[in-house]
Structure formats: structure tokens, C-alpha cells
Amino acid sequence: MKNKPKETTKSGKNAKGGWIFLAIVLLIYGVTALLDMDLAMQAIASFIHLFDKVWPVLLIVFILIFMINLFLEPVWVKKYLGRRSGLTGWLAAMVGGMLSTGPVYPWYALLSDLREQGMKTSLAAVFLYSRAIKLPLLPLLVHYFGLTYTMILVGYLVVFSIISGLVMEKIEEVHKDSN
């Protein structure tokens, strides 16, 4: 009951901030068009091409968010990705990050939703860092840089995704202590 007004304010603030951000970007495009119309047109063509690739991923992500809202109980999130999730949570966040496809923006929304339901900050960091390991793209990495390089790089990315989670956890603790 105590938290309700705060949540509403935060959500409203986020929604307003998003539209202001879009307006600023459109303003940047306007200025760019005045200075270099050709560049602005190329950027718009690139945007259309990108959006064409992004919308199916967006659709999948929002279906996932809907399923999460429908079936996922905060108790479950707290158990597997929450404060006492342990090794399973770290593993789930890492595998989730590796399997997540498409641009990162839709995944921010999913992580935000999960965090509202009790997901640990460290696991959100692990998820985002392990997105650097793109399983379908590994053959291309091997093609350009070789198998040994790829194996070493992926190994370090796994290790540093865990470190990133630990560091974010520590930063959150320090912030809580100072507040």
C-alpha cells in the first residue's frame, strides 16, 4: 500500500521521459536534415531497414512479457532470480543473456519487469553482459579470428559476466548503505 503511489509516479515519469527522448531525437534529425539532407535520408532508410528487423523480436519479447505477467509469480522470481537464488539464478541469467536475440532495448523492458518482481540487480548485469556471447554468430567469429581465439574470448566473456554481476551487487550494497 505504502509503495503504490511511488510506483505510479515512477511509471508515469518513465513514460513521459520516453516521449521527450523521442522528440529530442526527431529534433536532432530535423537539424541534421537542415545541415545535410542526404545524411538524414540515408539514416531514415537505415532506420526503416532496422525497424523491419526489430519488430519480430519486439513481438516475441512482448509475448514473453505477457506470459511472464500471466504465469510468473513473484515468489518464483524471488526463488530463481531473487536474493536467495544462488547458483541457479546466475546460470539462468547467463543462459538467458546468451539466448536473447535482437536489439537490447526490448530486453531492458523485460529485465525491468523481472526486477520489479524481485530479480537481483547482479543477475540483470550478468544477463546484459552475457549477451556478448552470440551463439549463432560463433562460426563467423571462428572464420575471422580462428577457433583458439574464439574459445579464449568466450571463456573470458563468461568469467567477466560473473564479475560484472558481483561488482554491480557490491555497488548496490554500497549505495544502500550510504542512503
Binding site: S11, N14, A15, G17, G18, W19, F21, L22, I24, V25, L26, I28, L39, A40, Q42, A43, I44, S46, F47, L50, F51, V54, L58, F62, F66, N69, L70, P103, V104, Y105, Y108, A109, L111, D113, R115, A124, A125, L128, Y129, R131, A132, K134, L137, L140, L141, Y144, F145, T148, Y149, I152, L153, Y156, L157, F160, I163, S164, V167, M168, I171, H175
Partner: protein, 144 residues
Amino acid sequence: MSNKLKRSARKTLQTFINILPIVLGMLLLTSLVVKAFPAQVANGLFGQNNFLDALLGATFGGITAGHPLVSYVFGGELLASGVSLFAVTALIVSWVTVGVVQLPAEALILGKSFAIYRNLMSYLFAIAIAFLTVFSLQLLSLFH
């Protein structure tokens, strides 16, 4: 169940409305950044020393947005044109882990301090991974 279905649909729609302008804005910004800084600009910058190369690689990867596939191809081409593996590794790691262009969206959705600390940390990690990877490769080559 029907109530829960309605509640979930309403919550998802609200998330969609909140996220839509951010996604559109980020895609527009990404397109503009990618078009404004073509690949040729980067070619002349690298090649001073290993640390500077890694620093530049991580910086370039952090401010450039796009599909990771592009970073592999771009990194591969840079390597082929003589740019050091320190720079290329830092670039392909920070391309995905650091997001200066995505920072406003990350800050709006996941919180300002989370976004700033995570990106700063990822930037430093990209440099560290570049050195560790190249040194590990050099170490392995001693045994072959």
C-alpha cells in the same frame, strides 16, 4: 483466470506504451550514428601502441551501435588491414557490452546509476579482456 488475463494484458500494454517511444528513438539515433561515422573514419585512428589501441577500440565499440555481426566483420576487416588484435578485441567486446547510444534508454528503464556503473565497468572490462585474450593467445603459441 479471466481477471488475471485482463490484468496481464493491461500491464503488458502499459509496458509497450512506455517502451515504444524509447525503441523508436534508439533505432533512429542508431541509424544516424552509423551513417554519420562510416568505417573509413576508424581506419586511420589505430596503430599507435597497444594500450591506446585497446582504449580506442573500446571507445569506438562503445559509441557505435549495430548488430554484433557487423562488429565481427568490421573487426575482421580492421585486423586484415593491420590494426592490432588489442584494438579489434576491445572493439568487438565493447560493441555489445557498452552502449553509449543506448545509455538514455537503459537509464530510463533500468535506472540511471545502474546504467552508468554497468557501462563504465563494461568499458574497462573490454580493455582488460583485450589484453587477457591477446596475452593468452601469445602464451598458448609458446607451447605450439
